[in-house]
């Protein structure tokens, strides 16, 4: 393999004059602010969701259901009779969206920048310990290539979240003034609807989906089937342009939806709703 070695050496870039070292740059704008704010929001949301979905129930059983509202972290709800108490039902579901988002092309950009400083900003020096990193060429980050499988899986909880919309809009019988189950338009239901819409937008705007639907084709006009896929690809491309927006918006609404249900359960707030008898 000496030939190969020679070739690879020949293609190696000669060294430039960039100053190395964490944070060295000639940029005069406030490049620090953006990643720091992003890191704060992301860490708060992700930290809370992990706690709520995995640790809250085993530590302090509180409940995540309230009158037809099921926290999106626990859907579909999987419980059985002698389920160990250390196991939160959220854990059985949450690994899918966590994995989906961890391998997402947008979140990768964001967290490589704000958690790994690789790079901290464009044309900003990195910690010199990065120099030999193999990035996504070797374990663990080579696993990012499995993004598409997590995408497939992500559609499972997403389907259940849509199904959860139905009980969220049905008023339970026995409430004051309500004799039969009726239509209930509550803040919770609306929040759930917005949340699941944003989650769907996030899933559909996925780069991997865009590739699988049409991006992998070289000649779009060659067959009728491909023309259909081209049209789909165009739609997904439009969505994909705002993948970042979907990612942040849906992360925040999931957090809010869970907080809302928890607060209802704890009795801190009550659900404001309009009821209609059917």
């Amino acid at each position: 393999m000496t030939v190969q070695g020679a070739v690879l050496r020949a293609l190696r870039k000669p060294r430039g004059s960039a100053r190395q070292g964490f944070g060295t740059t000639s940029r005069r704008d406030n490049w620090v602010v953006f990643p720091v704010v992003q890191a704060l929001v992301f860490t708060l949301c992700a930290g809370y969701l992990t706690f709520s979905g995995i640790f809250w129930e085993p530590i302090l059983p509180t409940g995540y259901r309230w009158d037809g509202y099921l926290s999106p972290l626990f859907s579909p709800l999987i419980v059985w009779k002698d389920m160990p108490t250390w196991l939160s039902p959220g854990l059985l579901i949450l690994w899918i969206p966590i994995g989906f988002r961890a391998t997402c092309y947008y979140y990768r950009k964001a967290y490589y920048r704000f958690y790994f400083a690789d790079p901290p900003g464009c044309a900003v020096g990195e910690p010199t310990m990065h120099r030999r990193f193999a990035l996504e060429n070797a374990l663990p980050f080579v696993l990012q290539n499995l993004h598409r499988y997590l995408l497939y899986l992500a559609f499972i909880p997403l389907t259940f979240l849509w199904l959860d919309i139905i009980p969220a809009f049905i008023a339970p019988a026995g409430e004051a003034g309500v004799t039969d189950p009726g239509l209930r338009i509550g803040i919770g239901g609306l929040l759930f609807l917005v949340n699941v819409t944003l989650l769907t937008g996030y899933s559909l705007s996925c780069h991997s989906l865009r590739h699988l639907v049409g991006g992998r084709i070289d000649c779009f006009s060659c067959t009728r089937a491909r023309r259909v896929r081209y049209t789909l690809w165009q739609r997904l491309t439009d969505l994909n342009r705002s993948h970042m927006w979907w990612a942040w918006a849906s992360l925040i609404t999931v957090t809010l939806a869970d907080i809302y249900v928890r607060l209802l359960v704890l009795g801190v707030i009550t659900d404001q709703a309009i009821h209609f008898n059917l």
């Binding site: 030939v3 464009c122 044309a123 193999a134 590739h211 084709i217 342009r241």
Partner: protein, 373 residues
């Protein structure tokens, strides 16, 4: 007869073109430029210049003013001054930019504006760097490879088939994306990394509707597509606004994943067997049998006479090759291997593994995958 139309009154002297002379008095304010000076082996320094600012002035104008007023030997590489040639890339206040489209009005003129060369490449002098490494990388990419047995005159495809490729071919090779890429700038990777510019070029070839080569093994093993961690700085600096990350690199990563990191697709390929034969004409974007080729538009005297005398032009697209004195060489001739660089390039393509050796990608991969999920 042929008319020339003089101005209304014939003056003894023609006047200069309107507004020809640049009015120095229009200069309204002064910009302070800190310009990197130096060459390899000598200590570098920053020279400061006070440059009078005119409306609409760009950094390159300021550098030219400096050349004409005080530092005639200031080395700057530039050409078209219209953001079309990609020569004048530099780092302005730390941001890789084309100096010909970076306007002074975008800066706070109370503070000095720092201009440095592209730091990722070896310095030649002042603002000029040696970007020749990029051309070596370019050479290692397998060139455009149309099917050998279909003449160009039979090629047919639609605008939508090439719109992606056209975006990539807007690239003006300014190498700002290479400059800003932290893998090239800050990392010392074990294997080479081709950088965003050449991922864009590879994407333009891979997505070409009639190209038959498979560059995925090359991209994975030589080009180092895995080194890219999609932090999008290349997209931010691209003066041609090519969506490098979203439209070129990520789709290439997905294509590489199809081939190397997708067990279901791997199993499916094993099951069906890979065809290494030339692709079926029916699956190519070419004129199909049964559809009549359009008549030739070989220019005849009558046709020419009609064209010259015609009142209304007629749209006649170019098609079937007319028999003429010389025929185009549709099949690329083998690359000359006179230079060492040529050998390296050829070896690089081969290094990517046995599949790269003229592996024919089935042109219909797009359709024949199981719909996983």
């Amino acid at each position: 007869m042929i008319e020339t139309r003089p101005p209304a009154e014939v003056p003894a002297r023609a006047e200069a073109l309107p507004g020809a002379a640049i009015d120095e008095a229009r200069a309204s304010s002064v910009a302070k430029l800190r310009v990197f000076r130096g060459e390899p082996g000598t200590p570098s320094r920053y020279d400061e210049f006070d440059v009078p600012v005119e409306e609409g002035m760009v950094v390159l104008d300021a550098l030219h003013w400096i050349q004409g007023n005080g530092a005639p030997d200031l080395a700057v590489r530039w050409n078209c001054k219209a953001a079309k040639c990609g020569s004048c890339g530099a780092e302005v206040n730390g941001r890789p930019s084309l100096t010909c489209k970076t306007r002074l009005s975008d800066f706070d003129l109370d503070e000095p504006i720092t201009v440095e060369p592209m730091r990722t490449f070896p310095l030649v002098r002042d603002l000029v760097t040696d970007v020749s490494w990029n051309y070596e990388v370019n050479r290692s990419i397998e060139p455009f490879s149309p099917p050998a047995d279909v003449p160009q005159s039979d090629w047919r495809w639609q605008q939508e088939d090439i719109e992606r490729v056209q975006e990539f071919r807007k690239c003006i090779e300014c190498f700002l994306c290479q400059d800003v890429c932290h893998v090239l700038r800050n990392h010392e990777t074990e294997r080479p990394f081709m950088g965003p510019r050449f991922l864009v070029r590879a994407a333009g070839l891979e997505m070409h509707p009639i190209d038959q080569a498979d560059r995925r093994p090359y991209l994975k093993d030589v080009g180092g597509v895995g080194y890219c961690n999609i932090t999008k700085c290349c997209t931010e600096v691209c003066p041609e606004h090519i969506k490098i990350t979203d439209n070129a690199i990520i789709p290439l990563k997905e294509r590489v994943a199809d081939e190397f990191y997708d067990p279901i697709q791997w199993a499916w390929r094993k099951l069906r067997g890979r065809s290494d034969s030339a692709p079926d004409r029916r699956s190519l974007p070419v004129l199909q049998a049964g559809r009549q080729a359009e008549p030739s538009i070989e220019p005849t005297p009558e046709r020419l006479a009609r064209a010259v005398g015609e009142d209304s032009p007629v749209a006649e697209p170019m098609h079937a090759a007319a028999p003429t004195t010389s025929t185009p060489a549709a099949e690329p001739t083998p690359a000359a291997e006179r230079t060492d660089a040529g050998k390296v390039a050829k070896a690089a393509r081969a290094t990517a593994g046995p599949r790269a050796k003229r592996a024919r990608r089935r042109p219909d991969t797009g359709d024949e995958t199981p719909s996983e999920g």
